[in-house]
Point group: C3
Chain length 435, copies 3
């Protein structure tokens, strides 16, 4: 019996049905030209394993990019027993069993060689991509594309482009940003007017190539307000030319670029995913991908002006701090354009998912809930992460809806299908867009 | 089987007994001259339905006050399927079934006409008020009276007056406030001394008419301190005469009026209900009653000076942000005059009630807990909202007390009766008052 | 059947086994020269009972230190029925039953005399200490020693010294602090250099006497940064000589002393317990030990510089506000030197323990978790408090691991043993220390 299946019979009945459904994944970091893992190093290289092992005592050097893949895997395997209590470890085991017929219940230094061999796909790359896709019953996976991504070489109906805008908002003052923007748009970006023009070119191209969302992650100290282009003219020019800036000028630049992006989201009918909370590089000595944390003192009240002004833009919101979930429920309950989206990163463990999900199911209109996204870097992770969520959803519905309110299994499954499939498809459909 | 009844047999046993008890409701917004709904528009007009439907896509115009009641109801009914997962929808269905013998399990555009007809009571208004009162086994319902409410025309033992003071504290600078105060008190309010005199008149009148509480809702940026009348003299005069004020002067006015109210609560032995957290009009384009939200960054530490200074005043406290519940437990555990009161608004859903209630039952002296209040605008809502709470209470006691600690059913019921009936009656009895 | 035993059979099986294990208690306030209670007043004098009874209406004078012990006990007993719902009351009953063969299920004014007599041990003090130690199966109990504690008169393998440093950091400006420091170290403390020298002497002595931790409790407004001795020279000298200080100078002093302590922790390989959150004397009219509270607006992000700089120092962290648990999970998941330690004070009730524990077990490497500490003042409390935790642990493992993931009972017990015994022993072993 796979341990992903719930113990409670009603919940199992719900889960087993959900497990037959396709997966529509509205946010990931998959590389569409290399979606599945070519070897087990690309699985174990997921930051959850390196950072948890490092936190448990593994020196960062043991997973250095300078090592060969098998050495990295063997090094990390020596520490996996220290983290075999975690839910992240359970994803790993589910991958090993589902995709690689791994027969053991723990991954150890003794059997890691066997697993490495089983997961070796360097010679059959694209066939393996298709196999993982099929076995996971994927229907669509959203990408996270840098603004200068050429967006070519894959089927955008399956790998759906999404314009990631962190660099434009938070790093406009870095020389590479402006250079990349000029090259990507052929606009000679020199000031706010040409910056705006360039961003317009980006939106045009992304939408033409099938993009269905714009996305950004924002630190806790960011609270958007209506920036006037006029006031921002000078700070933007200074940022573009890498001149020194006072903190307030730097914030002015972030504000005006962010507001401009929201304007284009309105124009192009793109939902704007807000991923609120991370602070980058809080632990600089950590492993790659394992250095970011947060300050929990952040409030959606800081986003009120944005939500009000852009009533025509849908904002799927993810919050990072586990104690922020209640506020997201309240803001989604009131603002038509605020959508609680999935369960993110440090909040993406069953204990927090269960608490947040239960509240959302009780207080947020069902048509507004985007149940889950994988946030995965490799295709193999989409299934176990979705299964974790499907299980919590099945248990919550069995408790609260079936036993708690006398719902039929069918009614509970209807709700599950809505938040897992129908809502994300509708919300990310660019409904009403001209193009 | 009504779905309000718990599934677990022990919990059901507890719930079934509680369902036989009268209801003592220490906070509502009932209009005592028109307590029950004359038609289903007055039920569906509760902001929870209009705001949730609006959040789910219903244009605000569809429930405009300019429309006739039946049109509003039909318009809203077209969106109810989008919110039929919510606990608020379950109150609606319980009202339809309990009070109107509605035979269906969902309210749809097809059957809303039938329900509208069934709920039509415009010709039998007062008889209907009595019927709802009786069917709900109401014993007393506290009101929320504006300071200039004439307080006449009803039995104050059943509809207990409560002096609501938001306008005095937060809107003294608005011309209507002072005018209303002058008319209500016959005091020529011109400065702090006459303001104080007028407030004294209000307390005198409210208490004479049977008031048993003073109440206020306070925004997260308010942190009371001991305002000296001397320092406030000028700002108060400027507010009364609608002269311009700096933000610090405006805060000075809020502070001194609030402190003055607390002094009168002490003098008249009135509990002072503090409802901490809301920010008004965060979403101005929302439906009536559906525009307020909060900033979760607020702490009861800001109230320490108040709690210390007025050791003789009981402060029943409600907090709005779902993550603030733990702090209220701690402050109630330490301060004799801080009472955790009910579960409010955005925190009033079973998921948050269950978490808060469990902690209060484990750590706050049982004699200090005020279990619940309805916050209802129409009498029909008192029963389903109390039933929601009684159910969570029954489930919590079945788990934690009966199974968890081997308590008898009787002992668990004793505790339930204490927090549902005996505590609120004692706490809001003005014990020790001279009058 | 003791009500500490879980109702669920799988949980009971786990609990019953854990109940056979020894207890290793890494933080308490036990007086090693008088560890067990000589009479029931020393049990009921625990601040939880006096503060809860006071919060429930008992005047503080009824437990004044001027009264004789039996009077205090009788006075307090008159209020115990008001708090018999609390988990703290359940500890009391477990003590009465386990250590004093108390036959009743509630402690009342009628039977308090019987209990007082049963618990009278003034003539058999040390024998009683040994009996409680043995019955509780204690292996080691960490102390909280003031810096000038002579550290003599007990076996440091059983009663493990721990250097408490609050006074040095937070009260250096008070005359008694410097005087005590001079006497304790024979260093003529006059400035930062001699202060540092004195602190070195303290560490030297504590470690020589078997100390295995340094500890401090810090208010929410403290956020450590790398203080430079140079900049702090003047403020430190002014503090030592009790000269007036500006708030920023006062903070400078706190910072440099705290940083200096962390440097010595690194040098002496002592874990540095951080107990984050309390604000002292928020309710000055409260009973002794029942005056402190917190402001929940605090973040571990304020500790990033400390955690980064002292990568060689282990920081077992306790947070006070119940809503801060999620952040501690995330910081422990990323920083190798941050350890989530136990469940503290206002967060030490089953509702909050269960929520925090479940998340830690799902997301923090198992080798990093320090399950519990008693924080007890008298030896009798160690067992019931640990039993409370063992029970929540048993229930969580039965739900999430055994039923939830198909773990064997043995595997679940291995994890329990790790966090209850093996981790604290290893983490507080001063591994790698030269001495
Ligand atoms: Zn992502
Ligand atoms: Zn209200
Ligand atoms: Zn302590």
């Amino acid at each position: 019996m796979p341990t992903t299946s719930p113990h409670d019979p009603k919940a199992r009945e719900l889960f087993d049905e959900m497990a037959r459904w396709p997966i529509f994944d509205p946010h990931s970091h998959i590389d569409p030209t290399r979606p599945a893992a070519r070897n087990f190093d690309e699985v174990l290289g997921y930051h959850y394993y390196t950072e948890l092992a490092h936190s448990a005592g593994m020196p960062a050097e043991l997973v250095s990019p300078n090592l060969d893949p098998e050495t990295r895997v063997r090094n990390l395997a020596g520490y996996l027993d220290r983290i075999d209590n975690t839910v992240q470890y359970s994803w790993l085991l589910e991958i090993a069993k589902t995709f690689h017929d791994f027969p053991h219940d723990r991954i150890t230094p003794q059997n890691i060689g066997e697993l490495y061999d089983r997961a070796q796909r360097s010679s059959s790359g694209e066939a393996w991509d298709r196999e993982v896709w099929k076995k996971s019953q994927l229907e669509a996976v959203f990408l996270t594309n840098e603004f200068d991504d050429p967006l070519e070489g894959w089927d955008p109906q399956k790998y759906v482009p999404c314009l990631r805008t962190d660099d434009l908002v938070l790093k406009l003052h870095e020389p590479t940003t402006v250079d990349r923007l000029r090259r990507a748009t052929n606009v000679d970006v020199q000031d706010y007017a040409t910056l705006r023009q360039a961003i317009g070119v980006l939106f045009e191209r992304f939408v033409k190539r099938g993009a269905r969302a714009c996305a950004i992650s924002l630190p806790p100290d960011f609270a958007p307000y209506r920036a006037t282009a006029k006031r921002a003219v000078t700070p933007v020019r200074r940022a573009i030319h890498q001149m020194d800036q006072r903190p307030d000028e730097h914030d002015e630049v972030r504000q005006v670029v962010f507001w401009t992006l929201a304007e284009f989201c309105a124009e192009f009918r793109l939902p704007f995913d807000l991923m609120i909370g991370p602070i980058r590089n809080v632990y600089p000595a950590g492993v790659a991908g394992g250095r970011d944390l947060f300050d929990r003192r952040v409030s959606l009240h800081g986003y009120r002006e944005l939500f009000n002004h852009f009533s025509g833009v849908t904002f799927p919101v993810s919050t990072l701090s586990p104690d922020a979930g209640g506020e997201l429920v309240a803001y989604s309950w009131i603002f038509p354009n605020v959508i609680p989206m999935g369960h993110w990163w440090y909040s993406n463990i069953p204990a927090y998912i269960a608490a947040d999900l239960r509240a959302r199911l009780q207080a947020v209109p069902k048509v507004k809930q985007v149940g889950y996204y994988s946030d995965a870097y490799k295709l193999e992770f989409v299934l176990p992460k979705f299964n974790m969520f499907r299980r919590v959803l099945a248990e919550t519905l069995a408790d609260d809806a079936v036993r708690g309110q006398g719902w039929s299994i069918d009614r509970a499954l209807e709700l599950a299908r809505l938040i897992l499939l129908e809502n994300p498809k509708r919300i990310f459909s660019r409904a009403g867009a001209a193009s």
